[in-house]
Amino acid sequence: MEIKVLGPGCANCHKMEELAKTAAKELGIDAKIDKVPDIQEIMKYTMSTPGLVVNGKLKHSGKPLPSLEKVTALIREEV
């Protein structure tokens, strides 16, 4: 599974990365989690950061950050 965290490096983007890591661990998935700070790459998905992309699909964008349960649910949808 491929998970991308979209964000230019703001505090919320780091938190989003942590959430994604924890969620993947809880689900017991072997996921490759990539940070995407490049604006041209981010723009392919959304204008609002932080964004969460699972297997090429945008699952969340913008503030507020989703809860851990929400992130877990979003990732589970794509398993």
């Binding site: 723009m43 998905y45 204008m47 609002s48």
Partner: protein, 316 residues
Amino acid sequence: MLKAVASYISYDLLKLDHGSMLGDAVEFFFYDTIKIFLLLTVIIFIVSVIRSYFPPEKTKRILSHKKEFIGNILAALLGIVTPFCSCSAVPLFIGFVEAGVPLGVTFSFLISSPMVNEVAVVLLWGLFGWKIAAIYMGTGLLVAIFAGIIIGKLKLEKWVEEYVYQIKAGQGQEVFNQAFKERLQYAKWNTTDILKRVWLFVILAIGIGGFIHGYVPQDFLVRYAGIGNPFAVPMAVALGVPLYSNAAGVIPIVYALMEKGMSMGTVLAFMMAVTALSLPEMIILRKVLKIPLLAVFVGIMAVTITAVGYLFNAIL
């Protein structure tokens, strides 16, 4: 009701003397603080609910291929309710241009968004009355519309960085549908988030009004920046450029300046320059705009804001 609470705190809880200068100041401080925080909470909450209906993706779609003029007006109005911080200015700009929003219309949005928002309006309303708040909002929108139209007319598309035009947004630009309950949750989150960021500035501003009031002569600034000095407005605008702050952060300064005799138009021009025309924002926008366009943008904004300042000094 609020008066009663404020006087209870000042005279019964803190046991200050009725009619004493300190008692009056403290009562005024608590009255204003409670009033402004109530206003802020209610209005930010309502605006947040409205805001949840206008994520940037949707705003972009509304403005895409709009005619100029009508597009500029719509963009300035949408700037009030669309969430924005200068950190997202670049993605927004690229997204707008990519979606076919005309350059001038994009600028109207970028100008109005940080300058005219509910926090600025509520604080001006609470501290200086609804007339000043309405004037700030009205002229802020006019500046955004006017500057956007001029930039559109000048046909400056060639001074946008080329890569902006090469970006193709993916199909993923969907708008997530939210249930009304989720919108309320968002509004609650957003209200607490904004209050957490502005409360200190608000208390500072009210504190200045309540306490420093007596210590600096009322007409301290009149000599330098009163209505008699024709250079006051451009000076205030020039001073506002290196300063960068959101509307809440500039309010304590605005209050102090007004309190000490700087004229209304000059103060409003200063506030607009701080929020809409700042060095850090220029550096961020440089990623998408070439220097000549940036210079044109700064020039038009400086002239327009200065004109607004003179106008209000003349009529208020």
